[in-house]
């Protein structure tokens, strides 16, 4: 019964107070896009729209009683989603707005760790709104701003009209350093096309990474963000001049998250799976997100992986295309990751 039920997609909206979340929410609720959204907010606050499907909910972070410190869920979301899903005909999708200081991890993990929620809904994407002018300050005074960016699938770099082109470059470079895998949209007044933030399928393994040009491109830093229609800046390129495989956090002030991008040939499944299990067990608390496309020796399909802390999901995605290079790529975003150890042990799994 429950298996046959279609899973309702859930978009998580993060971002500091004043970054433009409410503006974006109002657009989602009022624009004529033919879909109905249930919206879970922390406070009714400034949403100027009267709608039965706006639910106010107190953020409740529940640590699971299994000895794992990173296994946290949002208890209030479990309850609200259960209530909403008893009358599923009312809406097509759910948007969860988090508070400015919210940790996005428990929100995301709720959709993987709670069986009831998982049966009825699926996490679509985590969208972070960033205020172009105030991000440097936010990064200085909080860990949350950085976590929100590090955890996002889509970053809406908002209020670009309030900064100079040079400042904007710098801010985008900072975002890219924290999270090389996210898609960045430069906007004013949260004017991103809604199709770029809703129905992204970022956690859907069959779609994962397909709409992720940064991840698929051959060189991590030699490319630019995706441009929205209101984006008129000149394209630019970072030239690092050398081909190192990880971004170091240290070169940008106030950034403690780093990413480790690994690349290799075909993997021996007997070595790779025990390795990735071990890495997520051991380094899980430090890993915010991981994404990967793995070429397994003797397997005609691409194997896709994604993870949040110690939660790891993987599946065969599709057959390798003719002429497509059978290579394995894996990105970790987190703190205190030992890039050299990860790289060496990853490479040792090659067939």
């Amino acid at each position: 019964m429950s298996d046959a039920q279609t899973q309702i997609p859930v978009t998580v909206l993060t971002g500091y107070l004043g970054a433009g979340k409410t503006t974006l929410l109002n657009r989602i609720l009022s624009e004529n896009h033919g879909k109905r959204y249930a919206v879970i907010v922390n406070e009714f606050g400034e949403i100027g729209i009267d709608n039965d499907l706006i639910v106010e909910s107190d953020e409740e972070i529940y640590e699971m009683n299994n000895g794992c410190v990173c296994c946290t869920v949002r208890g209030d979301l479990i309850r609200v989603v259960e209530g909403l899903m008893r009358r599923p005909g009312r809406f097509d999708a759910i948007v969860v707005e988090t508070t400015g200081l919210a940790d996005p991890v428990p929100v995301a993990q709720t959709f993987f760790m709670d069986d009831d929620v998982r049966t009825k809904t699926k996490l679509d994407a985590v969208v972070a709104l960033v205020d172009a002018k105030h991000l440097p300050l936010r990064l200085k005074d909080s860990k949350e701003a950085e976590d929100q960016i590090a955890f996002a699938d889509v970053v809406v770099l908002n209020k670009t009209d309030l900064v100079t082109p040079e400042e904007l470059e710098k801010v985008e470079e900072t975002i890219r350093a924290i999270n090389p895998a996210a898609k960045i949209h430069r906007t004013q007044r949260s004017g991103v096309p809604l199709g770029e933030v809703l129905d992204r399928g970022a956690f859907d393994l069959s779609r994962a990474l397909e709409n992720d040009p940064h991840f698929l491109e051959a060189h991590d830093h030699d490319h630019d963000h995706e441009c929205g229609p209101d984006c008129d800046h000149d394209h630019h390129h970072h030239h690092d001049g050398h081909d190192h495989h990880h971004h170091h956090a240290s070169d940008i002030h106030d950034v403690t998250v780093k990413s480790v991008s690994l690349r290799g040939g075909e993997m021996d499944p007997k070595k790779f799976f025990p390795w990735i299990e071990k890495v997520t067990q051991m380094d899980g608390p430090n890993i915010l997100r991981l994404k990967g496309i793995i070429a397994l020796k003797g397997d005609e399909d691409r194997y896709v992986l994604q993870g949040v802390h110690m939660i790891l999901e993987g599946d065969h995605q599709r057959a390798w295309k003719d002429g497509e290079k059978h290579e394995s790529r894996l990105v970790f975003i987190g703190r205190d990751l030992d890039a050299e150890r990860l790289r060496k042990s990853f490479e040792a799994c090659q067939a």
Binding site: M1, D52, E56, M64, N65, V73, R86, R87
Partner: protein, 324 residues
Amino acid sequence: MPTVAPLDLEGHCVAAVFLNDVPHFALADGAIHGLDNGQKTVQANDGLLAAFHDAANDRLITGGEDGKVFAAKPGGEVAELASAGRKWITSVAAGPQGAIAYASGKTAFVRFADGKIKEFAHPRSVEGLAFSPKGMRFGVARYNGATLHFPAAEGKPVELEWAGAHTGITFSPDGAFLITTMQENALHGWKLADGKHMRMSGYPGKVKSLSWSVKGKWLASSGAPAAIVWPFASKDGPMGKAPLELGTRGNTMVTCVACHPSQDVVAIGYEDGMVIAARFADAKEVLLRRPGKGAITSMMWDKEERRIVFGSAAGDCGVIDITA
């Protein structure tokens, strides 16, 4: 042979109860359908989330998305008892002397029979509510334990601590034990006389339905492929004892349990809509209803111990007559 009188309704049935011996079905959209010589429908909440059968007053207490609490009586009479603003009412309970309790966010409210309302603020969300069968006392399930309040008196609440998220709560009929359901697949219990802990774990799924047998000798629970029935007859409850496993099935889960009013028998509802009755003494089973469209969400026996009213998540509800 038991017979089933089906009633196909639209939507998730939150509560299936007898009011004045008439079957009533409260659905998630807030409509309450009564089956008394034909179907009568009344509207209570705009979106029903929680319902509690107030046996002493023969009424159904409901709380919903509209932030309101209603009492539905037999014959289609619906009265608004309280309103708590725009937030959802997520839990309701009925207590002695016509008192009711309801929860909205981090606040528990008690409304006395005279209409006076008392608020109990908590640092974390109020997840579940239950009145003690003795005295004016109620319990709140919360993160990391439970809190006991004495709403008729001033004074400090009693805090019972146990790490983890507690989502539902019930007192044993003699008031000796307090049991909570947890976000983890487990129950937790306290012996109230000495605060001793009882861990009841090993469930493959979350426990969402609990039912005390006659005189509270057993506690039946959902959350497994069988009804898990814990022995509570001795003074230390189920500590050190194994539960009964009744009505075990290989391919589905128990979603609802309802103990017989006077015998050691439990009605067991499954995820696929099947309903059976099982006897504690010899685990003998009787099929009461074949699988249907949705998981069984609610069941109740009538006073004559002859009929069981049931509701499902898909709206295929009905009444089982076990003597026919």
